[in-house]
């Protein structure tokens, strides 16, 4: 009896490893294919390659900022905050009105740059405040409710914010003059856009700062403890409500900053901008491993770059297929590594 089970177990192990080996082989083949495609494009159209890459990096930084909001909130209360993309959209609208209407920024001069910076701070405050309010009004009461209740509330909140955006911004896209000038620094045929420089120079330090806060500070320790076990965190003396609110504030500030940066890069916004970008940023968070900060950043840049290359390269599928490519990659990653690239399987969760 015991020997039979042992043999069976051994057979199962072999079967498992064979299945794994096939999966790994497929993954390697796919990666090699992608690499070959990249080299082909690089050799035949080098300047187009680098332009697309840089464009993708700029977009990726934005995706990363928004993805952080999803991943922070998911990490701490395991809620997919569907309203997050729409919070980003509201921040674009707020930034436009604040900078151009209320502060009167015009053209690229020192005064306008100061107004841009002020708007950045205000937009971050705006995003943080709205996100904290949403948590306080809608999600806090549902913390012990079935997860579906909170999820559907998040969807409802998304619609509410979208309608606020519709009333505020109007149904048509609204164009805003930007402070960051068009164009960029060119070396040969390769151009590094000013907006890309701005987005990346903002995003990288913010990411480092955020990692520092979460990993090294007392507040960050409270966040991680709350994420793992709320009651145990309370027993340590951690104010769980305040810690969760702080997390929403952080995520909201990221969305607020992304709102202004997006507006500066694109120059226009619409009430449904958050749906589209939110979905992509959410995909980035899942791709990197939801709940993992570095994963959200990695996923954001990856999707930005993949999109950039696909849309801009001569042998790419082109812009029409942009979304298809992004989500196909998501599905493939989920098949081969369901926890995302940097995600850990949460075995200790019951």
């Amino acid at each position: 009896m015991t020997t039979a089970t042992a043999v069976e177990q051994a057979e199962m192990r072999i079967a498992m490893t064979r299945k794994e080996a096939v999966g790994r082989l497929l993954g390697v083949v796919l990666l090699l294919g992608v690499a070959a495609w990249l080299v082909l494009n690089l050799v035949t159209a080098p300047s187009q390659f680098f332009n697309s890459l840089l464009f993708g990096i700029g977009n990726g930084a934005l995706y990363a900022l928004i993805a952080l909001g999803y991943t922070l909130v998911y990490g701490i209360i395991e809620l997919i905050n569907f309203a997050h993309g729409d919070l980003f959209m509201l921040s674009t609208v707020f930034s436009g009105f604040m900078m151009v209407y209320w502060l009167g920024a015009e053209g690229a001069n020192p005064a306008s740059w100061a107004k841009l910076l002020l708007t950045l701070v205000l937009a971050m405050g705006f995003g943080a405040t709205i996100n904290v309010l949403i948590e306080r009004v809608a999600y806090r009461r549902l913390r012990r409710a079935p997860r579906l209740a909170a999820l559907i509330t998040a969807v409802g909140m998304s619609f509410i914010l979208q309608w606020v955006g519709l009333r505020w911004n109007g149904s048509a896209p609204r164009l805003w003059p930007t402070v960051v000038p068009e164009g960029g620094i060119s070396i040969g045929d390769v151009t590094l856009q000013y907006s890309t420089i701005m987005v990346v120079t903002f995003t990288i330090p913010v990411l480092l700062l955020l990692t520092y806060v979460v990993q090294r500070t007392k507040q960050g320790r409270a966040m991680r403890a709350t994420a793992q076990d709320q009651d145990a965190a309370r027993l340590m003396g951690i104010n769980v409500d305040r810690t969760i609110a702080f997390t929403f504030a952080l995520g909201g500030a990221m969305a607020g900053a992304a709102g202004l940066l997006y507006l500066e890069a694109v120059g226009t916004t619409r009430y449904d901008a958050g749906f589209h970008l939110g979905l992509i940023a959410f995909t980035a968070a899942v791709l990197g491993g939801i709940g993992n900060l570095a994963g959200a950043v990695l996923g954001g840049f990856l999707i930005g770059i993949i999109q950039g290359l696909n849309d801009g390269l001569p042998y790419g599928f082109g812009q029409k297929w942009s979304q298809t490519v992004v989500f196909s990659i998501l599905i493939m990653v989920m098949v081969f590594k369901p926890t995302g690239i940097l995600g850990q399987p949460t075995v200790e969760k019951v």
């Binding site: 007392k218 320790r221 009651d231 145990a232 340590m236 003396g237 769980v240």
Partner: protein, 243 residues
């Protein structure tokens, strides 16, 4: 050390009732824990022991009755404030933070404290009590054995420098050798001046270390008395302690 008036118990529970929704888990419980004692609360599964501890530490609030600690009412204080008042709780099922290291877990135990030197001294003290934890100091807590996790749960509670330590089933699921070790440590902790309220299903082991015992059954207090007397009363042992 701040204490209540002379003769006043450190912790006084007066006629509390605790509900989960409409279901009463604790019905009219009164008990007191004198300064420097080990008091045990025993009874079968579902008797309301853990609920009582969770109510004392502020995770739950009584529907009626009051709890006073060092003469101050704490029945309405939120959980995150109670630990700062001097009550630490090592919960049922250990509830350590699995994805953090042993050291980070200990740091969190001292979350409400600011005295760096005191924290460092207490860290040394608990690592002396549980040398095994010192060996595992940088290991992720979730990867340790059940016994080691239990040690960590007790050590983490000690890091709050409590005057009252609530221990919920510290022997649950442990090998007999480890059970002995945990109970020895409980006595050592008491000798260092910490009062202990111990919830146990392993009633006989609990009665051996405790000074005074309360026996609960389906939410009610059934019996109380000096631990030694209860342990020697054959009828009590047969009826309540599974002897």
């Amino acid at each position: 050390m701040s204490q209540g008036a002379v003769g006043e118990p450190l912790l006084q529970v007066d006629d509390i009732s605790v509900y989960y929704g409409n279901i009463a888990a604790v019905k009219g419980l009164s008990m007191s824990v004198p300064q420097g004692a080990i008091v045990t609360l025993i009874g079968s599964n579902g008797a309301g022991k853990s609920t009582t501890l969770r109510t004392i530490s502020g995770l739950l609030h009584p529907k009626s009755g009051r709890i006073t600690f060092e003469g101050k009412e704490i029945s309405r204080s939120p959980g995150h404030e109670v630990v700062g008042m001097g009550i630490a709780h090592s919960p049922e099922g250990r509830r350590i933070f699995p994805r953090m290291t042993v050291d980070e877990n200990l740091e969190l135990g001292a979350f409400t404290r600011d005295d760096k030197e005191g924290i460092a001294a207490d860290r040394d003290h608990v690592l002396e009590l549980f040398p095994r934890l010192a060996e595992r100091i940088n290991q992720k807590a979730g990867t340790m054995s059940g016994g080691e996790q239990q040690m960590l749960a007790v050590a983490r509670a000690m890091m709050a420098k409590p005057r009252l330590l609530l221990l919920d089933e510290p022997s649950m699921g442990l090998a007999p050798v480890l059970v002995d070790l945990i109970f020895d440590t409980i006595e050592k902790i008491r000798e260092s001046g910490v009062t202990i309220l111990l919830v146990e299903q392993n009633a006989l082991a609990a009665l051996r270390v405790a000074d005074y015992a309360y026996v609960m059954e389906s939410g009610f207090l059934k019996l109380q008395g000096p631990a030694r007397e209860l342990a020697e009363d054959d009828e009590v042992v047969r009826a309540y302690l599974g002897g």
